[in-house]
Each structure stands twice: as C-alpha cells, then as structure tokens.
C-alpha cells in the first residue's frame, strides 16, 4: 500500500510556512507587477508579450510554490498541478498547427467584359 502511506505522511500535517516567508514573496510579487507595467510602456514589438508572460509565469510559480504550499506536496499532487498547463500548451500548440499555415486564397478576379 506504498501509495496511501506516501499520501498519509502529508496527510498527518500540512507543512507550516512562517508568515515572514509569505511576506517576502508578497514583496517580490509586487515588485514584479510594477516591473511588468513599466516594461510594457516601452515598445519592444513582439517581445512585449513574451516578457509579460515570462514575468507572469514567475509570479504564478511563486504563488503555487509558496502561497499554495506546492513546494511541500507529493508527486501525485504535482502530476495534477502540471497536467492542466501541459494540456493548455497542447491546445494552443495544436490550434497553431492550423491557422498560421492556412493558405490565404483570394477569389478569382472576373475579367471586365467589353
């Protein structure tokens, strides 16, 4: 019953995270927020969105790891933390095998009859 034991270990006590840790993370998050807003003001072309999403992902990771105790969770839980993001990637990836590769057709030009 390997698994249920494994689960049970975490079952006894969720990990207790000191408030100070949370506070440090909050400060980090606020700084990052200000950073994205600032960066967004300068026009970097398509790098704007890349940058914004990278920063957002860093913030998200912090929230999951610390606020949501992700750091202290077991493998099974992590599987189900990761799956939705993998699927999101598959979804967007799959759809983008389509649209950018569609042939851009124009209707047949009808010759003017004299």
């Amino acid at each position: 019953m390997a698994h249920s034991h494994e689960d049970a270990h975490h079952g006894e006590q969720g990990h207790v995270v000191p408030v100070s840790t949370f506070f440090k993370v909050l400060v980090a998050l606020l700084i990052l927020t200000v950073a994205t807003v600032a960066v967004a003001q300068v026009d970097l072309g398509k790098w704007n969105i890349v940058g914004a999403l990278v920063v957002a992902s860093i913030k998200a990771t912090l929230v999951v790891l610390v606020f949501m105790h992700g750091k202290y969770e077991n493998r099974i839980l992590w599987t189900y933390i990761v799956i939705p993001f993998v699927l999101l990637a598959i979804m967007i990836g799959g759809v983008f095998t389509d649209d950018p590769f569609r042939d851009r057709l124009k209707p047949v030009q009808v010759e003017q009859k004299k």
Binding site: V25, T33, L53, I83, P84
Partner: protein
C-alpha cells in the same frame, strides 16, 4: 466545493477532526487536498479555452487588440492586481494561523482577503460602467461598432468569468473559513477547510496574474 462539506460536521468537539464513516482523518485530509487540486486543475482548463481563443483572435486581429487594450485603464488594472496579490497573501497567512490553532487570526486574515475581494469587484464594476458609457458594452448591442469588438468580447468573457470566481471565492472563504473559525472550529489537528478555501482563492489570484498583462498591457 461541497467535497469538503463532508468535513462540516458540527457534532464534534471544536478542534477535533470530524468523524467520517469511511476513512480516517489523515486519509480524509489527503483526499480533500487532492480533490481540491483536481478541481483547481479543471478551473485552469476552463480558462484555458479563453486563453487559447485569445491567442487565436489576437493572431487574426493584432492591431485591433493593441487598439483595444489601450482603451483599458492600466492603473485600475494594476491596482486590482496589487489588491488581489495582497488578499492572496492574507489568505496564505490565514492558513498558517489555522495550523497554529489561532482562530481569531484566521478570521482576521480571511477578513482582509474578503475585503480585498470586495474592493476588486468595486473597481471592476467602475471599469465596466465606464465602458458602458462609451457604448463599449456588448449586451443587447447586436452589432458592436467598435473595430476591436473581438477584443471586447474576450475581455468581457474573461474578466466576467474571473469576477464570478472572485465572488465564489469570497463566499467559500466566508462559509468554510470565517464562520467556523468564529466558533473556534480549527486547530493544528484540523484545518482542512481553511486550506482548501485559501487554495481556491489563490487560483483566483493566479488567473488574474495572467489576465492583467494579456488584457491591459500587451493586448
């Protein structure tokens, strides 16, 4: 959500885990947490559709999307982001308090989160009404004259669904967090509902972390 309803059992001494007929309290704790994370996974996938649509629509209407995002007020959005981050922080603290058996602490911190949630909704409604006055409100309008109607459509779908989650999150926090804590329900031995409601609240924050840059900044 009613998964943890199984743990709302009033005929047990305060601080004691409820009797669940078919499993011991440790298993129950693990089960509840796994269940909650699975539920969060489904929530993420709910929004995944919107993100995917956003990606495609942006691909087709890049200019309109830039145009559209300029019509959103970065400062309102930014303020809301900060509000949610703080509320998320307090929710996290509430869990620690619960783990230390500090029920008033739970009430206090969840209280802050709750107020933040309310503040978020207020600001959102200010934004919505502003849009409404500029005729940028989709309902009823069969043909939206704005060039960036696709952006607006997605903006309302995404923020609307998110706002709905904020409301649900607040209700959950109140029913499963604040109310029982007022009765000193929680202790180092038993705080599952606090942790679960906090998890849900963090998800609401998580989604917004992505919505804010996508809608307000890069468009």
């Amino acid at each position: 959500m009613s998964s943890n309803a199984a743990t709302l059992d009033h005929n047990v001494a305060p601080g004691e885990p409820p009797h669940i007929h078919h499993m011991d309290s440790q298993t129950a704790y693990g089960a509840a947490k796994l269940g909650m994370w699975l539920f969060l996974a489904t929530e993420v996938l709910l929004f995944a559709v919107l993100f995917c649509s956003f990606a495609i629509m942006r691909y087709y209407h890049l200019e309109e999307f830039h145009e559209g995002s300029h019509h959103l007020n970065v400062w309102w959005g930014g303020l809301n982001t900060i509000i949610l981050l703080c509320s998320s922080y307090w929710a996290a603290v509430a869990v620690t308090k619960a783990q230390q058996g500090d029920n008033p602490g739970v009430v206090r911190n969840f209280g802050y989160s709750f107020v933040c949630g309310a503040g978020f909704l207020v600001i959102k409604s200010i934004e919505y009404t502003g849009k409404y006055h500029h005729g940028m409100f989709p309902f009823g309008a069969t043909e939206n004259f704005y060039e960036f109607k696709n952006f607006l459509g997605l903006y309302y779908c995404m923020t609307g669904l998110h706002a709905l989650h904020v409301i649900i999150g607040m209700v959950v926090m109140f029913i499963y967090g604040i109310k029982p804590a007022l009765r000193n329900r929680y202790s180092a031995k038993y705080y599952t509902p606090v942790e679960l409601s906090a998890l849900y609240w963090h998800l609401v924050d998580l989604i917004w972390i992505y919505l804010f840059p996508l809608l307000y900044l890069v468009g």
